[in-house]
């Protein structure tokens, strides 16, 4: 009896897995000996995963699902999941509690890049390796934590800038829909975008930047206000797909038609890719949330004594008019 199709994410791990972009042989590596930790068998080990935000957006849903699926695939039976519900201090105590309860490997999707001192101290004392995914922590790999797997958010911003410059023919005014204030992802995606625009397209003017809190509703509200104050806006850079889709609704409400304003966003959810197919979005830079396979592969290697890279940057795809139609099924 459901008439509406879910906007996103019915079959999360079905899509494309992650591909490592860099880091492999030449960068610094880390091994069991280097850290002085002991070998364990992952199958019988207790593993903990700390998610940062509610699984209420496609990215988080896909991320958690991918960890769960891969753990099941590897035959790991003792997987503990916690969710910090966007409260950073809760995440800290969640992780500390998992260490207390004897987990032997931690996979953490950090809510924030700083503030992990107490966790690291505890983990080191108990010799629990920590793999951080999707967001990097400002600390020393191979000492404080094992390794980081994820995208380069600044790079994503730069790529979005490239797309925007291309779409606008290097001139015109652009609005930025920022993510939640203070969030590292927001900071880096903003920095990458602005730096790159300044470098490659000085005639593209950023005339507006307001937070849309990574949510569709706020994205829509802010866009509505923005469109009234800046009727001649040529492009919108949304720091996630949800805000971009909010902006689309706002554009429709303002009587614009598809393609009048070029929208570039980041994430690669199914709804946004469909937006490209429909002509409302110009392009989407992917941020792949399917960390499970890579994370457990890395852990297995590590516990086998092999060296693993200290920084595993995955290569993110991008969706444009050219591939959107064919790849929409791959989006999460």
């Amino acid at each position: 009896k459901e008439e509406e199709s879910p906007g996103a994410g019915a079959a999360p791990s079905a899509g494309a897995g992650q591909v490592v972009q860099s880091g492999a042989p030449d960068g610094p590596t880390c091994s069991l000996d280097q850290m002085g930790y002991t070998k364990i068998d992952l199958k019988t080990a207790k593993v903990g995963f700390s998610q940062s935000e509610k699984e209420a957006n496609p990215f988080r849903i896909a991320e958690t699902q991918s960890i769960k699926d891969e753990a099941a695939k590897q035959g790991i039976t003792q997987l503990t999941l916690t969710n910090a519900n966007s409260q950073f201090t809760k995440q800290i105590s969640d992780v500390e509690q998992m260490i207390d309860s004897g987990v032997q490997l931690l996979v953490v999707a950090p809510l924030n890049s700083d503030g992990w001192d107490s966790v690291f101290a505890k983990a080191k004392a108990k010799k629990v390796p920590i793999i951080t995914i999707d967001r990097k922590i400002n600390a020393t790999p191979c000492t404080d934590y094992l390794t980081f797997i994820g995208s380069d958010f600044e790079e994503q911003g730069k790529r979005a800038a490239d797309k925007m410059a291309e779409a606008l023919g290097n001139k015109g005014s652009v609005a930025i829909l920022l993510g939640s204030p203070g969030n590292n992802v927001t900071t880096l995606r903003t920095k990458g975008f602005k730096d790159q625009i300044a470098k490659i397209a000085p005639d593209v003017k950023i005339v507006f930047e307001q937070t849309g809190q990574f949510s569709r509703e706020e994205g829509q509200k802010v866009s509505e206000q923005m469109l009234q104050a800046n009727p001649d806006i040529a492009g919108i850079y949304a720091e996630n797909d949800e805000m971009a889709l909010g902006a689309v609704t706002a554009l429709k409400g303002a009587g614009k038609s598809a393609g009048d304003v070029k929208i570039v966003s980041i994430d690669g959810t199914r709804g946004a890719v469909q937006g490209i197919v429909d002509g409302w979005l110009h392009s989407v830079i992917e941020s792949n949330p399917r960390f499970g396979p890579l994370a457990f592969e890395t852990a297995t290697k590590f516990f086998n004594g092999e060296p693993v890279a200290q920084d595993i940057i995955i290569s993110d795809r991008e969706y444009t008019e050219a591939n959107a139609k064919t790849d929409v099924a791959n989006a999460y």
Binding site: E4, Q210, S215, R216, E218, Q228, N230, T249
Partner: protein, 318 residues
């Protein structure tokens, strides 16, 4: 006890300001925008402001009634989410059915709030805090934490269509404002509600069915929040249980208080509440349009709230 009809001009302003301070502030802000904001007077812009303020006004109406009984309803945002969560599940049975289910959810949460406050005797802020937390959780459970896009033409039309040039949303809000104003002013229920807010034991002794009135008030607040939830879905053309209505309780309370309704109960200013919501909408819009960073915007908002409430505060003779 001689009546003194003569008042100095200063006294007259002082007597007048508490009741009309919000309107003055609105006019000041309007003038500022007309002078300094591009395209401000365009109908399309004014229309956007009205559309955006409509859900807050609707929620604030219920909040004003609750505050009139010396209560508070923190659960409104979660009720919006719950209503939103039910919509896509029942759209298969038609728009009307889906909306009805959403409203029933609002009635149910309101009834629980009301029973906790009136019969069990919980303090309103705690009872509704419990439902603020649990309600949001329930909404996520119901929606399976998924954002669902809505393509039902009826709902989309409700969210974006107009009648005589005014969006449906605004018509609905207006109708509700008029109804609530009428209820407060002209009905037995309205008077009883104010008496309860003014002195609950006294109202009880005077034969006011306190429990029934309180439950009704919270049910009304829950229902209005559910209406706002439905409208939010229609407007963003998606049901997003995790984001809809977040922190709207604070916006609603601010609108009510800035509009001159005291938190201590016993009085409800319906039009003041509308004005309070409009004022806060204008403040936010002004700051967005002038692209102030969120830090500055928040500090400016803080000051404006204080000034508006200061002007509208109850003066006690000393």
């Amino acid at each position: 006890m001689t009546d003194v009809a003569v008042r100095t001009p200063a006294q007259r302003v002082r007597a007048w300001l508490p009741a009309y301070g919000v309107y003055v502030a609105i006019v000041v802000l309007l003038l500022f925008n007309i002078a300094f904001t591009e395209n401000f007077l365009a109908w399309s812009n004014l229309r956007i402001q009205l559309i955006q303020v409509a859900p807050v006004v609707i929620v604030a109406l219920g909040m004003a009634l609750v505050i009139g009984t010396e209560g508070i309803d923190l659960s409104v945002g979660s009720v919006m989410a719950l209503a939103a969560a039910f919509i896509p599940l029942y759209l298969g049975y038609g728009v009307v059915a889906a909306i009805l289910v959403a409203l029933i959810a609002g009635v149910a949460v309101g009834a629980v709030n009301g029973l906790l406050v009136a019969r069990v005797g919980l303090q309103p802020i705690v009872a509704t805090l419990a439902l603020l937390v649990a309600g949001r959780g329930l909404a996520l459970v119901v929606s399976d934490s998924q954002l669902r896009e809505i393509r039902n033409p009826g709902l989309v039309e409700l969210g974006s269509g107009s009648l005589f040039g005014l969006p449906y949303l605004v018509w609905i809000a207006l109708a509700l404002v008029l109804t609530v104003a009428f209820v407060v002013r002209r009905t037995v229920f309205g008077r009883r509600l104010l008496a309860i807010g003014g002195n609950r034991p006294a109202a009880e002794l005077a034969g006011v069915p306190v429990g029934r009135v309180l439950v009704t008030v919270y049910v009304v607040s829950g229902t209005l929040a559910a209406v706002a939830g439905v409208l939010a879905v229609a407007r963003i053309q998606a049901s997003d249980a995790s984001a809809v209505g977040v922190l709207i309780e604070l916006s609603a309370i601010t609108a009510v208080v800035v509009g001159g309704t005291p938190l201590s109960g016993g009085r409800v200013r319906v039009w003041g509440t509308v004005a309070g919501a409009l004022l806060m909408q204008l403040v936010v819009a002004t700051m967005i349009k002038h692209d102030l960073p969120s830090s500055t915007a928040e500090m400016v908002q803080a000051v404006i709230i204080l000034v508006a409430v200061y002007a509208a505060r109850e003066r006690r003779s000393r």
